[in-house]
């Protein structure tokens, strides 16, 4: 591993145990360790603690689980595999690196806590779930895929071309999104089932509320959709 410009052995920093394996456990605070699981294609990494920037960046397969928090660019430009973060994440989850045309191409990212700016920016396929809230620009320039958010701040879905963003709380809607219809949750049943397999539940009880559907972003013009849960009454 690199420390600044110097290459060092892993065991200078960590107690390393066990045989070469496709299963890796990292125990302790790795909150400043960058690039864990970069480009991984298979196997499993469990981080018991925090992880730093670029966790699972460009990963194509396998699974990563983190019990604590992670930093920015979680799963950036990933093309497959699954990431589950039990704590919070930083910004640019599943996003494109600066200048790149495409963010996440496929795979699944589930965050139990909150996340920062530009979640799912330029994503093309795959699923991102953030059970807590996210900050501005979720789904920025999104071109496909699904994002499910417990809550969101401003500019959700800005400049999106295609794809779906589900938000479980009322959010400010950009002027360039048009209200299209109200979905009864009944018709989201299959969708909800798929999310449930990822460990995420969205409301499906038609007595409890409905999803307001908006399309946009007209600035592009795009055909993305925003589904915003509205409790009844």
């Amino acid at each position: 591993m690199w420390l600044g410009k110097n290459r060092r052995r892993l065991d200078e920093f960590f107690d390393v145990e066990g045989e070469k394996s496709e299963e890796l456990r990292i125990v302790g605070d790795a909150g400043r360790v960058k690039w864990i699981g970069r480009d991984m294609t298979r196997g499993r990494i469990a981080v018991e603690g925090h992880a730093g920037m670029h966790l699972g960046s460009r990963m194509a397969g396998g699974a990563i689980e983190v019990s604590g928090d992670v930093s920015d660019w979680l799963g950036a430009e990933m093309s497959g595999g699954a990431i589950h973060v039990r704590g919070n994440a930083g910004g640019q989850v599943g996003a494109a690196y600066r200048g790149s045309l495409a963010g996440m191409r496929d795979g699944t990212i589930v965050i139990d806590g909150r996340a920062g700016l530009e979640v799912g920016q330029r994503m093309k396929r795959g699923t991102i779930v953030v059970s807590g809230g996210v900050r501005d620009f979720a789904g920025l320039e999104m071109r496909g895929g699904t994002i499910v958010l417990g809550a969101a701040e401003l500019r959700t879905g800005a400049w999106m071309l295609r794809g779906t963003i589900v938000v479980l709380q009322s959010i400010p809607i950009l002027p360039t999104f048009a209200y299209a219809s109200t979905y009864s949750p009944t018709f989201l049943g299959l969708y909800a089932q798929r999310l449930k397999r990822l460990g995420v539940e969205i409301p499906v009880d038609e007595h409890a509320g409905a999803y307001r559907r908006y399309t946009g972003d007209a600035a592009i013009p795009g055909k993305g959709e925003l589904l915003v849960w509205e409790p009844r009454g």
């Binding site: 290459r7 920015d72 640019q92 500019r155 800005a158 002027p175 360039t176 209200y179 007209a218 600035a219």
Partner: protein, 319 residues
């Protein structure tokens, strides 16, 4: 998807009949801009000077620049992105939600009128300041305006550029691009350039405490950066090169007084439109130039044993 459509300032002087200033206050921050480049001068294709141009100011408050504009559009704080995104839709004859537009502080009618005028222009120019680029949304706000300008070229000629200032910041950007490929936020710690704004940009490095020394030239982060960044600068060996004692000098370990570039040191400065201007010093200074100090430090550093990369893959990539 993104990009930048720009020109040198003489093009604005000679051709622009429609000018938008967004989130900037040139009357006070770039006092020569109106008179030398953008508003009052007569141009080859704008023979009437100021009368031949329509000027629009968009800002959250009525600054002294508003007096110089024909149209002043006052929007609510942090609504720039919403307004710009709406404009991007309106130029393409897309429908927008009037109620949501009204929340920006401007009405749909005002924005539609702006779009109609923009499309009627022969040559439109947009300038933006830190009221756009440093408020909520930051680079995405600038991106929205740059995109709007690019897209306007489907209808008529439009250009857009930031109103940059603070010494030779454009020059630093230019030189970094040709030597490293990237404009700012470049990390050379692996022996080759890496770039990731948010990770390697100065303020982020300082706030996270990632660097263990700082060498500061032509800037005063001690006056402008957030408190955690300043505290980190004070806790590490910080070296400042500056003609005068700055806020950063006071928290640094070493301050080296240098000659003032352009007054008593030669060089090249880049204007905001990236035109290189030669600097001819008028005075002599008892202090060394920045260049001389950096060269001497480099020579001293070069006497130390070279750091060589050990990664065979990287080494063979040179071949």
């Amino acid at each position: 998807m993104g990009g930048k459509v720009s020109c040198t300032l003489g093009e604005v002087t000679n051709r622009a009949d429609f000018i938008i200033f967004w989130g900037g206050n040139p009357a006070e921050c770039h006092p020569r801009h109106f008179t030398k480049y953008s508003l009052t001068p007569k141009g080859r294709f704008v023979p009437d000077g100021r009368k031949g141009r329509t000027a629009v100011l968009v800002d959250i408050r009525e600054t002294p620049s508003a007096k110089a504009a024909d149209i002043f559009l006052q929007l609510r704080p942090s609504k720039d992105f919403e307004v710009l995104t709406t404009l991007r839709a309106l130029i393409k004859d897309q429908r927008v939600d009037p109620a949501a537009v009204a929340e920006t502080g401007l009405t749909l009618e005002q924005l539609q009128d702006l779009v109609d005028r923009m499309k009627k222009a022969r040559f439109g120019a947009m300038f933006f300041g830190m009221g756009l680029s440093m408020t909520r949304g930051k680079h995405m706000n600038s991106g929205a305006l740059l995109n709007l300008a690019a897209e306007m070229n489907a209808f008529t000629k439009f250009v857009c550029m930031p109103m940059r200032g603070h010494g030779n910041v454009t020059g630093a950007d230019v030189v970094l691009r040709y030597t490293t490929g990237y404009p700012f936020g470049v990390n050379l710690s692996r022996g080759y350039p890496r770039y990731n704004p948010g990770e390697f940009s100065t303020v982020d490095l300082l706030v996270r405490g990632d660097n263990d020394a700082a060498f500061i030239l032509g800037a005063d982060p001690g006056a402008t950066m957030p408190q955690p960044a300043i505290e980190h600068l004070a806790s590490i060996p910080t070296i400042v090169l500056d003609p005068k004692v700055t806020h950063t000098s006071r928290l640094s370990r070493v301050h080296i007084t240098t000659a003032v570039t352009g007054v008593s040191a030669p060089g090249t400065a880049y204007r905001m439109d990236e035109i290189p201007l030669p600097l001819a010093p008028a005075l002599r200074s008892p202090y060394p130039t920045d260049e001389e100090v950096v060269r001497r430090i480099r020579r001293a550093v070069a006497r130390r044993p070279a750091w060589q990369p050990v990664d065979e893959n990287v080494r063979s990539a040179i071949a």
